[in-house]
Amino acid sequence: MTRTHEPFVRVVKRTGIQRRKAVLFRVLALFCALLMGGLLVALLGYNPFQMYGDMISGAIGKTLIAVNKKGVLEFSTSAQATLKIMTLLLVTALGLTMAFKMRFWNIGGEGQILVGAICCSYFAVHYGDTWPQWLLLSMMFLAGCIGGGIYGLIPAFFKAKWGTNETLFTLMLNYIAISFITFLQYQPSWQMSGTTFPKIRDFSVTTRLPEVLGVHIGWIIALILAVLAFLYFAKTKHGYEITVVGESANTAKYAGMNVTRIILRTMFISGAICGFAGFLQVSGASGTLTTDTGGGAGFTAISVSWLAGMNPLLMVVYSCFIAVLQRGSNRIQTTMGIPKSAADMLTGIILFFMLGVEFFINYQLIFRTRRVGGEATL
């Protein structure tokens, strides 16, 4: 018998994996990531159990929801902050997913959020004291969406026309938007009257969105938007076209689809939803405009979308998860003296594991065994 050179391990694409097994793999990966984060913290001399416990209590508060002094039911202060972060992440992730489904790498979410925020701030700055609230909020909403949409349209136009690399194009646009806000901070008409401090003034109360349970109404809109996005992808013609263009632009062409139009339309929607997130930030969460209005959500949301496998409903879960991490890290800084940058590091570790586990879901490892013809699989 001739000896064959069988490799120690072979990789074979799985034909299908049970849903339960896939979920189990992901949960296992998450567990490993938390374990690794815990080990790292333990090595530095902190108690990892206390850290995770404090994170969760720091994100949720003593009671998640309670009647406040005025007799109104609302979320705890900590939960309010968490929910605001979650809303921003969720809306942005939904916007980016529009583009990702089409395999258009829109990593300019941050810029689109900021341009949406700039456009709606224009109305807040100039008409905040004169217009009635309903008109002001509607105009700010429209300006935010259209502004973000147009900012998304620019790279889409060049991509559709000349195939310009959209990853790098959208990336550059982020920094142009940030610089532009710095520029606005130095404009006297945008500053608080009577000062020259480079900061955009706080907008009047008429620019603020109404609150539900202590958090601006954006969080409810975000949840509705997630359902709408799910239906858009699964049930509409547009959703179908996006998928086909993503799979193969040529197939779409042969099927008689107007690829250019689909790319432009989808990127406009993608940018518009991100711009809407910017509007929610200005009008709901912060009431002013800073270079940090996007808070890095344009980048973090990419991970949210990807982790959720571009499923809008799962994004609700993942955006909540990341928001708890980010908010909870504030608590561990005060209670345990662990720098809050730990949240970024932990988010990174979790994402690394979640990215890695996809391989084991999609592929099967077959190990060589001593026995002739024997195989062990994972």
């Binding site: 694409k13 920094y175 142009i176 990419i302 991970s303 988010t347 990174g348 994402l351 990215l355």
Partner: protein
């Protein structure tokens, strides 16, 4: 007249200093992208290198002082350099393992590396700062190692002295790396193989090139260079100079990613374009354009990069384009 000359000399010197960390990181990213890996984690790897370099030098000094000895600035510098390169390489190794071995998406993995590295840098920066009682900084002797060198008489030559012989060692080091990489990519056998891997991995594989090994090596060495670029910021830049400043890398990594495009994937052009970027970053202090607000200047590098991107795509210049397989993973079984 003399004032004008001084202004020009200062401007050029500052531009060169501002371009050095960009050049190192850009060279690292060029090497990485030549293997077909678009690693968007440059910012993260720079953060890792920045804190590792500073932290290692600090820890070494503390340990020696505690043992009753006098820390040597030279040794501290060497330790910092090794640690920074090692940290950058470690970040790149995580990336390469996920992307090459586990076939994860390059964009998402790179961005995750940026999130991780930023957290890593700030986390350990603050932790060391707390340990040092306020903020962490290296000794004056080590700081001096990272500031401008003096070549005796050479540095005193009028005009040429300040122009050529008045920089810190990392500036000269980055130029040497640039030269070596230009030679490696254009003239060496291995460089040719690497470019083949980046352009068409299937063909390279068929020709007997170990695609996986090349991808790993290029990415890890590239990461080490990004780490050194980060160390430049924490040790040599005027903003930090041996003291940990929260969020110190602050977008330099993304500028380097932009610069790779601007330089159209050539190490020598990276040097020239790096100088242009450096000049754009500091020009406001020397030659403000009347009527143009100061804050608009910081947009210039990004606008310039977008113009290059559009230009390259419209004219379809293959020579100046991104390596063809960049951003795509290679699976031998799925050809």
């Amino acid at each position: 007249m003399n004032g004008d000359l001084n202004n020009i000399l200062n401007f050029i010197t500052m531009a060169v200093l501002a371009s050095a960390p960009l050049l190192l990181a850009t060279l690292g990213e060029i090497l990485t992208e030549k293997s077909g890996n678009l690693n968007l984690g440059v910012e993260g790897m720079m953060f890792m290198g920045a804190i590792a370099g500073l932290g290692a030098a600090y820890r070494y000094e503390q340990a020696v002082t505690l043992a009753g000895g006098a820390p040597s600035a030279m040794v501290a510098t060497i330790i910092a350099t090794i640690a920074a390169a090692g940290a950058g390489a470690l970040g790149a190794l995580i990336y390469a393992f996920l992307v090459v071995t586990l076939r994860a998406n390059q964009n998402v993995t790179g961005l995750t590396l940026t999130i991780f590295g930023t957290g890593f840098g700030n986390f350990f920066g603050e932790l060391l700062g707390k340990e040092a009682g306020g903020f962490v900084q290296v000794s004056a002797a080590t700081k001096a190692m990272f500031s401008s060198l003096h070549f005796g008489a050479l540095s005193n030559i009028p005009v040429l002295g300040p122009l050529l012989f008045n920089y810190n060692w990392m500036v000269y080091f980055s130029l040497i790396v640039m030269g070596v990489m230009a030679w490696f990519l254009a003239k060496s056998r291995r460089g040719l193989n690497l470019r083949a891997v980046g352009e068409n991995p299937a063909t390279a594989d068929a020709a007997g090139v170990n695609v996986t090994l090349y991808k790993y090596m290029a990415t890890v060495v590239g990461g080490a260079l990004c780490g050194l670029g980060g160390m430049y910021i924490s040790m040599s830049s005027t903003a930090c100079a041996g003291v940990w400043v929260h969020d110190c890398v602050n977008g330099y990594g993304w500028l380097a990613v932009a610069l790779v495009i601007f330089a159209m994937w050539s190490p020598t052009r990276a040097w020239i374009c790096g100088l242009v970027f450096g000049a754009l970053l500091v020009v406001r202090n020397y030659y403000p354009i009347p009527g143009l607000p100061m804050q608009i200047y910081s947009m210039f590098p990004y606008i310039a990069t977008i113009l290059v991107l559009i230009f390259v795509s419209i004219f379809q210049v293959k020579e100046y384009a991104q390596p063809a397989s960049c951003g795509l993973n290679y699976f031998r079984e799925e050809r």
